[in-house]
C-alpha cells in the first residue's frame, strides 16, 4: 500500500532543495470523489496531494504543455519538473523522450505502482451505487472503498476497474527516479487485449454496424485529442489553421487548398478524424485510456488504439514506451515484417 505521506514528503523535499520547480500530482477536486491535476509550487500545497482510485489523468500531458509554454517564452528551464506517474503514464513519458520532446534530466518521475488494482471506471461504478454519488474513493487491498450519503460501500476493485487497468501488463512504472508501491508486474487480472478480442470475435458487418453508430455519435469536441500527451502537434490535420481566409481568398483558392477533414461532425469526417488519430498513435499509445474516459459520448476509442498496439506487438514485436533509446514503430522495420498481403 502506498502511503500518501511518502509522496507528499518527496514533493516537499524536491521543492525545498530546489531540485524541482514544480510537482505535478493529484489533489481532491471540488466535485464528488474525483481527483484532479495539481500543480504544486510551494510547500503548503504539497499536503494537498492525494493518491486514490480516481487518479485517472495521464499527467505527462502537462509536461508537453510546459514545454510548449517555455518554447513560447523562449526560456529554458532552471530545474526539472517532478511528476507523479502510474505505469502507463511513465511509459508515455518514455515515448515523449524517445521522440526527443524533452530530455531525461528535464523530468523527475515519482512513480506510483497501481499494485493489484488500478483506477475506477465511473461508468461501471454508477449502476452499483444505485443512484447514490460517492464523495470519496480509496484503495484497500483488492477492494475499492467508496463513501456515499448512505454510508461506506466496499466493492471488489475488479468489478469497477477500468478495462485498461484489468488488462494492464505493466502496472509498475519501470522508468522512475523514485517509486512507491509494490511491483506487481504480471498480476494478470484479465487477459491482455481482452476487450479487443471480444469485440473482434464479431464478423465484419457486425463490427461495421457497431462502429458506424459510434462514429455517428462523435461530436468532435476533440477531448480525446486534447487529453492525450501524444497529440502534441502544433497544428492538427483537422484544424488547418495555416490556411487563413482573407478578403483576397478566391473560391478557387478555397477549392484547391487541402482540407483533409471538414469541421462538420458527420460520420465520414468523424471516421477520418478518429482513424487518422489511431494511426498517428500506433506505436506511441501506451494505453492510459484517457481518450476513452474523457469522451462525453462513450465512443470506445481505446479499441482502435488497442488494435494498433496488438498488431505492433504481434507482427512487429514492438512495445510502446519500452525504452528511451529505441526506434519508433513506423520509422523502423525488420526484414521479417509480414508482407504476405502484398501482391
Amino acid at each position: 500500500m502506498i502511503d500518501i505521506k511518502d509522496i507528499r514528503d518527496t514533493a516537499r523535499d524536491m521543492l525545498t532543495k530546489g531540485e524541482a520547480r514544480a510537482v505535478i500530482g493529484y489533489r481532491r477536486g471540488s466535485r464528488g470523489m474525483l481527483a484532479e491535476p495539481a500543480f504544486i509550487t510551494n510547500l503548503e500545497q504539497a499536503d494537498e496531494l492525494v493518491w486514490d482510485p480516481t487518479c485517472f489523468h495521464n499527467l505527462s500531458l502537462y509536461l508537453v504543455e510546459d514545454r510548449k509554454f517555455l518554447a513560447h517564452l523562449r526560456k529554458t528551464a532552471n530545474a526539472p519538473i517532478a511528476i507523479v506517474a502510474k505505469g502507463c503514464d511513465a511509459r508515455s513519458i518514455v515515448v515523449l523522450m524517445q521522440e526527443h520532446y524533452f530530455k531525461r534530466e528535464d523530468v523527475y518521475i515519482i512513480g506510483v505502482s497501481c499494485e493489484g488494482t488500478g483506477v475506477v471506471d465511473e461508468r461501471k461504478l454508477a449502476p452499483l451505487l444505485n443512484g447514490a454519488h460517492a464523495t470519496s474513493a480509496a484503495f484497500d487491498g483488492d477492494d475499492f472503498v467508496f463513501t456515499t450519503a448512505e454510508g461506506e460501500k466496499r466493492l471488489p476493485a475488479r468489478e469497477v476497474m477500468a478495462d485498461r487497468c484489468l488488462e494492464c501488463r505493466n502496472p509498475f512504472p519501470k522508468e522512475h527516479n523514485a517509486v512507491f508501491g509494490e511491483d506487481k508486474t504480471g498480476r494478470q487480472l484479465a487477459e491482455p487485449f481482452a476487450a479487443l478480442t471480444r469485440f473482434e470475435a464479431q464478423g465484419n458487418s457486425a463490427r461495421w454496424d457497431i462502429w458506424s453508430r459510434h462514429f455517428d455519435r462523435c461530436i468532435r469536441c476533440f477531448a480525446c485529442r486534447s487529453v492525450c500527451p501524444m497529440c502534441y502537434c502544433d497544428e492538427c490535420v483537422v484544424d488547418s489553421i495555416s490556411f487563413p481566409v482573407t478578403a483576397e481568398t478566391t473560391a478557387e483558392d478555397k477549392a484547391n487548398r487541402i482540407r483533409w477533414i471538414e469541421r462538420s461532425a458527420v460520420r465520414s469526417e468523424n471516421i477520418t478524424y478518429l482513424m487518422t488519430r489511431a494511426m498517428h498513435l500506433a506505436g506511441r499509445c501506451t494505453d492510459c485510456g484517457e481518450c476513452e474516459r474523457a469522451c462525453p459520448v462513450n465512443v470506445p476509442i481505446r479499441l482502435l488504439n488497442n488494435k494498433m498496439e496488438r498488431e505492433a506487438r504481434e507482427k512487429f514485436g514492438y512495445e510502446p514506451g519500452a525504452s528511451i533509446g529505441g526506434s519508433s514503430l513506423v520509422a523502423s522495420f525488420l526484414d521479417s515484417d509480414p508482407g504476405d498481403f502484398i501482391r
Partner: protein, 144 residues
C-alpha cells in the same frame, strides 16, 4: 441492365515514381489491355504515403485504393518500401477492424519492367471490387 452489371469501381492508385509508375507506362506502351478504372497518383516513394492519403481517398469516394511500389530491396531510397510495408499493414488492419471490406485496399510490388504484372494487378483488383459494389461506408455524404 442492372446497376450491378454497369457498376465500374473507381480506384485511386498511389504509384511510386521509380517502379510502379514506370511499370504502368510500360503496360501502356506495350499496348496491354487492362481496365481503365484506376486514377494514378504518382508519389516519390511508397514510404512517403501517409495513411491519411488512403483514408482521404476513401473519404472522397474511392471504391478501392491501391498502393504500389518497388520490390523489397529495389527501393530508390533504400528503405522506403520497408517502411511502407509496415504502415500499410497497420492501415489495412485498421480499416478491416471497423468493418470495411479488406478487399478495398490493396498493395503490390510492381517494378518498371513489369508492365504485364501491373495490368494483372489492376484487372484482379477491379474483379475483386465489382462484387463489393460502391463504397459508401467511408464516403462523404453528398448532402446530409
Amino acid at each position: 441492365m442492372s446497376e450491378q452489371q454497369t457498376y465500374e469501381p473507381r480506384i485511386v492508385a498511389f504509384l511510386c515514381k521509380w517502379c510502379s509508375s514506370a511499370g504502368s507506362d510500360l503496360a501502356g506502351v506495350s499496348r496491354i489491355q487492362y481496365p481503365a478504372n484506376a486514377t494514378p497518383i504518382t508519389v516519390p516513394c511508397t514510404g512517403a504515403i501517409s495513411p491519411m492519403y488512403i483514408l482521404s481517398a476513401f473519404n472522397k469516394g474511392a471504391d478501392g485504393v491501391l498502393v504500389s511500389g518497388c520490390h523489397i530491396g529495389d527501393c530508390h531510397y533504400i528503405e522506403g518500401n520497408y517502411l511502407a510495408r509496415r504502415k500499410m499493414h497497420l492501415i489495412m488492419q485498421l480499416i478491416e477492424f471497423i468493418g470495411v471490406e479488406p478487399n478495398r485496399f490493396r498493395m503490390s510490388w510492381v517494378s518498371a519492367a513489369e508492365g504485364g504484372k501491373f495490368a494483372q494487378v489492376i484487372t484482379d483488383f477491379v474483379n475483386d471490387l465489382k462484387p463489393l459494389g460502391p463504397q459508401e461506408k467511408l464516403k462523404k455524404a453528398e448532402r446530409a
